[in-house]
Symmetry: D2
Subunit: 484 residues, 4 copies
Amino acid sequence: MGFPKEYQFLSELGLGPRNPGCYANGTWRGDGPVVGSYNPPTTIIAEVVEASIQDYEDGMQACTEAAKIWMQRGEIVRQIGDALRTKLQQLGRLVSLEMGKILAEGIGEVQEIIDMCDYVVGLSRQLNGSIIPSERPNHMMMEVGCVESPWNCGVITAFNFPCAVLGWNACVALVCGNCVVWAPTTPLVTIATTEIIAQVLEKNNLPGAIFTSFCGGSEIGEAIARDKRIPLVSFTGSTKVGLMVQQTVNQRFGKCLLELSGNNAIIVMDDADIQLAVRSVLFAAVGTAGQRCTTCRRLLLHESIYQVFLDQLTAVYKQVKIGDPLEKGTLMGPLHTAASKQHFASSIEVIKSQLLSNRDINRGEDLVGGAAVNSDGNYVQPTIVEISSSGAGRLRYNWYRPRYSPRKPELIFQWIGPHGSDCGIVNVNIPTNGAEIGGAFGGEKATGGGREAGSDSWKQYMRRSTCTINYGKELPLAQGINFG
Amino acid sequence: MGFPKEYQFLSELGLGPRNPGCYANGTWRGDGPVVGSYNPPTTIIAEVVEASIQDYEDGMQACTEAAKIWMQRGEIVRQIGDALRTKLQQLGRLVSLEMGKILAEGIGEVQEIIDMCDYVVGLSRQLNGSIIPSERPNHMMMEVGCVESPWNCGVITAFNFPCAVLGWNACVALVCGNCVVWAPTTPLVTIATTEIIAQVLEKNNLPGAIFTSFCGGSEIGEAIARDKRIPLVSFTGSTKVGLMVQQTVNQRFGKCLLELSGNNAIIVMDDADIQLAVRSVLFAAVGTAGQRCTTCRRLLLHESIYQVFLDQLTAVYKQVKIGDPLEKGTLMGPLHTAASKQHFASSIEVIKSQLLSNRDINRGEDLVGGAAVNSDGNYVQPTIVEISSSGAGRLRYNWYRPRYSPRKPELIFQWIGPHGSDCGIVNVNIPTNGAEIGGAFGGEKATGGGREAGSDSWKQYMRRSTCTINYGKELPLAQGINFG
Amino acid sequence: MGFPKEYQFLSELGLGPRNPGCYANGTWRGDGPVVGSYNPPTTIIAEVVEASIQDYEDGMQACTEAAKIWMQRGEIVRQIGDALRTKLQQLGRLVSLEMGKILAEGIGEVQEIIDMCDYVVGLSRQLNGSIIPSERPNHMMMEVGCVESPWNCGVITAFNFPCAVLGWNACVALVCGNCVVWAPTTPLVTIATTEIIAQVLEKNNLPGAIFTSFCGGSEIGEAIARDKRIPLVSFTGSTKVGLMVQQTVNQRFGKCLLELSGNNAIIVMDDADIQLAVRSVLFAAVGTAGQRCTTCRRLLLHESIYQVFLDQLTAVYKQVKIGDPLEKGTLMGPLHTAASKQHFASSIEVIKSQLLSNRDINRGEDLVGGAAVNSDGNYVQPTIVEISSSGAGRLRYNWYRPRYSPRKPELIFQWIGPHGSDCGIVNVNIPTNGAEIGGAFGGEKATGGGREAGSDSWKQYMRRSTCTINYGKELPLAQGINFG
Amino acid sequence: MGFPKEYQFLSELGLGPRNPGCYANGTWRGDGPVVGSYNPPTTIIAEVVEASIQDYEDGMQACTEAAKIWMQRGEIVRQIGDALRTKLQQLGRLVSLEMGKILAEGIGEVQEIIDMCDYVVGLSRQLNGSIIPSERPNHMMMEVGCVESPWNCGVITAFNFPCAVLGWNACVALVCGNCVVWAPTTPLVTIATTEIIAQVLEKNNLPGAIFTSFCGGSEIGEAIARDKRIPLVSFTGSTKVGLMVQQTVNQRFGKCLLELSGNNAIIVMDDADIQLAVRSVLFAAVGTAGQRCTTCRRLLLHESIYQVFLDQLTAVYKQVKIGDPLEKGTLMGPLHTAASKQHFASSIEVIKSQLLSNRDINRGEDLVGGAAVNSDGNYVQPTIVEISSSGAGRLRYNWYRPRYSPRKPELIFQWIGPHGSDCGIVNVNIPTNGAEIGGAFGGEKATGGGREAGSDSWKQYMRRSTCTINYGKELPLAQGINFG
């Protein structure tokens, strides 16, 4: 028995109705509980047999062995990129199906991992160290970025980017010489992606253990956090869990790369191009049904454009087509879980009661959307809430990643300068989301301070040593010290 | 009443018999307990009135205000370097007196902070960000390293480097635009150093609060760790305390720069220049009476040179002159505290009992030194203990920063390569200690992973943002996504 | 009428018996003389109709127009790399056929241009400029590397690397936003390579004029040197012609990138691995029949290994299989032209007469090889000549790119240090030839000082500006000057 | 007999009424003709005995010997900076006296060389090479920037910056390990500056030949251009002479760093801050009496602000105080030579005749200033000429370094982007002159393409090698080639 017709494309990704969820030591296995993966929220897509702790231990041993022979090989990652390219449509479709984002975004996400592959092929020839002048004659001082052997990189990903975040980490990690251990939230995308990578490794006669995946529950994540064989753990998820992971990893002297929650704002100034700003907010707030860590959650509007902006945004919101993410024209799919839908509903209730008790704002126009959509799926309306300025203060939204859209150069340069934004990502006339891979991605403060994808993020996937070689016959000391 | 004759030079550093230990908001004060600073261990040098928590709070408010106007100013740090240069002899002498290291090392340490000043003046014109090509037309993508305003950098230093570690951090922090908050262990060096810096600030009509010092107990360190006004805390000290500081700072989304304990080894291979290697070990193990974090604690000797090396080292050890660190010819001064002396004695007892029960090694020649010196001061003998190879295993000295001294190029390059050392500092034919400021200083694993002084250490004293500016009229999305 | 059977593969490259040699404005044309391309030296492969000056002018106009719209596009170069990959065998075979190098080297050369494509795709996201701290408040100082519009890059290539040198330049130039103008020496390889690139451009609806090729004589090279529309000319060839090109280009304020002749030496020290060194010399001296600019032309042997090294090398030289470069087992193909063969013969005559008059060396064993091979092709023997040390002086071979192979670390580090080699490429235990693309390729002094392929060579394909923006309301001057 | 009272400060710089003009091999000498140095144009300040060719040859031999022992020493340049600092007022005064620029500019120029000294002290620890990943196992690939020994850097300076340009070059050259050979135009500033540097060298027991100065005529410049002992020649002067120097240096395979003429424009857009722009033009056009290479020579005014801008500028021009550059309040001193004054007068005549024949512009208001000032000195009026747009075309001022002052961000970013300015220095809301040392200084096209002072200019003062070390036992070839 196979898939219904609309799921036939899953076969092209190597998926069946029930799938072992653990790729360990180069073979598919799974000794843990059987769980279903759902088209949010209710339709089951396929079943997955999760990894047990024994699966984990076996996989890690093989992975650690493989790390001893794995070197930086851009050529392998180039082939992975090509293999993903041939499955772009199918894998993008599966992302939409399992995660719930619209097809354009699902395909865009797979494109992002392909872009990462292409990018790191070149990067693999530029993982440069430095030669630094020594003050001592006949000494050579270097700063080398090397991967100690063995080095495994753990990647714990969240539901909202089932494969792009893996790509940011794994592509860089692989060309830096890391083996990769993946603990995902969305099993089917993981199995399909892993299978594509596994085939490339196999074709090149390399141990499959170089890339190891464990679909499983929180005990897998905890095992990774505690595992001394994994010097670097990249974690994407909530601030609360991220801090716990960090402490566990730090206690064993490992390093953490955190991508946690965000509370992003868009500031619209009086000189903004309103139309462009409205479109930016639409994508920033409604894209991925508001479930990105870069989703815009706050609008700070200059009073002179407040009403016109809000009117235009409200008009646009009302036209947003909500529904099946695979259907053409849909802009907003379901929330990923029923719990999210419930959380949405209760938050709206809290807001409504706050609005009622809040005498200083205009009633009636203070809430756009706010209702769950009556359907089987986890569908809700895109929502705007107006709050008083005192309310803004009370909510203690003082975190990170605000952006704005003025056209005055003095504002732009102040914004990106020492007295401007203190966020990790600062945009002007651009939505809060949709980063390019060439820059470093990450947020400050409660977002965890991690940096992934481009720029010099690769340095984190290596140990780094200051090496000095004395090739002379004397023993000069720094700072001109004489001793003995 | 002033100082006895041999302490007269302290007056030239602005010190008196009793000194307020807190430089806050540009004035000297101190509302806490009075403590004595001792020439280790017993002779009191002078008294210090420590900072109270109220002193701390007042100082931090002023410091945070000052940070709003402090910009990167290489010129000020240049003047600080020049001011220190005129007091090199006196301040170096005080370092020896209060800490206990020999005069050459005391002066060398002050020279290091002067070198840091000279270095960062040039660095202040090279704190570069990047402009990264954008895949979107009419977009400019940048990575800027900016100091958000206000930014204070906390520097908690240890007894063994009373001012060099301050120099590594403060010099870089100041040119990056940080205000500096210093919590030291050695009050007199701190007061003298702060006074030199304070005079430079005053001469330039800058608020003294730019550089704030709090001599005090552990409650000051704890206050810094918890203080949200201090985004970056640089801590030097034990691994145990360092991990606690890190967790406290991380919980409030601050960043930590750790320089913790070390367990450094020197490996001597069969092709080594024995004489050079013996001299290296002498400086590495005996320098600063073995109290550096980079002190060599372990020797791994190739069997073919084992005995000849040990014979030469033993001969050299027996000639080490122990005594007053200010006296000419002394190579080894006292330990810093009486507790250290006691710890030394009890460790020797443990070792002796282990040796007795350890049948597989040669008795009689297995312990060189090992006795405390009978005197008032905290003097002990430089000590060599031979242990069995199984013993080496038992002690679990498996950490970091080993170095060796071969002359075979294949060994050297393997050593600094992916299958070589996993330490933060890797030397060849050089002692474990005595780093140059141009390279990044720091160790991996239990040493905390921090990097200070040269290379790109400065990046940590700034926030870092990926900024993208859309200066066109369109709203292209990354990964070619179309939305709406 | 088509090709004989052994040339059938040329059809797969789009070649026919007579081919237009000019790809200008996106179409194949040729209004100049008809020339034959020969399998060195006598067998005609195919005919080419060369570019006339009118072809050149038409092509350059279109190319300059195309440059106005061509932006940095890694994606296009990625596709070019993939297209070349599918033709690797055929194009490598054609390189061997037309140039004369053995098949492994022909394929290796095509692999190199493919590697360059893969490499620059990543590089295209890292063509970074800098943001430099300004000493003036409210100023932003940047160093940007931009391509002014339009920018064309001229690439004049030599016979010995018919396509790799094009790859070094064109791949980087294209991702930097340059249009490329190619003037080659080997027409068939150029036509086949251009056709592959042209198809990619066409598939992407881009103007073919982005990549323009002119097979032609010296008047095409001269036109490029004089052409103000070509800000950068990369020239590979003789030192004599290179200096002339440089002067012509400089006079019009253009820039030159020169890769000229080399006179490379291998130094073998007393501690060398003789077998490895002999193999290195074999590849360095005999590879490409000694026609690389990196070919080893001189051996400097330590006296203690002189005879044993020479004996082994002589033995190896005698086993070198000379013949058809496409045949399996051949190590040495023909010289590229009959003139080269004649030059070889006359050089040997000069050497023989010098040897006769040179009384201080051992007669009889002083010349290995030295004869032309009796056949239709341009085949000659690999040759070793011993000269007296005074003779070495007389020959004034004091230029560049020596390398050696010791095992003593002090020698290695001196060699690559300030008192060591003054060459552009310095190798240890590696032949003089066979560079990796990740490093910058080029030689000092008479080799022209150019740097191509990896490292920061890309910076030459851009203009570079120091941009400072004052976004404040004041007009502070540098160096604190007050004016008016 | 000494100096008149107003020249007494010259004695503090070590100058007398007649001075040997050559500092060679650590001693002052001069065997050439005696020339006078004039306070422009007529008052003699002091006499100088120029260098003969024999002086040159003796000096170069000593310099080349000294280069063999001179290493990078930031400490020496730090002391030079301090020594200059103590003579800032006197040397700045001499610059004004001998060159003719106003005192604020004279002191600013000396400050610039002091800034350079401070800057390169830090830079000396950051002259970094790279370690680049190798595709071959057991290979280490590096890019090192080393100074071959011996290396001398020739610096030929122009009258308009008697010491700042020396500072840009010499400071960097010295920390890179070059000896410096200076051929100036203004002998007294050179003698005084050299004496300051010589004393520092002497105090440190270093050979004076490390810094060698030759006051002399064009034969000294020609000797430098031809001298193989000088791998790098930095030349500041006219485009015509610069191209000749470049060809001579290139012929001997040396390198040239050119800073030639400029024809700089300021573009004022309709949204400009007029007051700020007028002040910018004043400093840019009138500063140094218009004799900087960065002097603004052209104004391109948006028609909407044309008249108001011109009115304000004319008003400001009329208030410019012309006269003794040492006198307080003077904004414009004399031209440097009588020939310049004559050239000014004849140019004005040509312009007047052109204006008469040019019917399409408004007569009467088309020339502001334009007269020589009736006095003994070379004083002329600051001058504005209006030309027709067709005239602008005819003058073919199409070179380089334009800048403008808009407030629209899209204009700013276009201006510094690929379709914007093609100049080496691009400013916004900043005069054309007055560069900071942290950026690279230099112009494109007829300005010669050189880059001096900050950024990565230091790389030019070194040779650069791609070094690869094979430390394994195999001989893998790049591109996977198998040979033999």
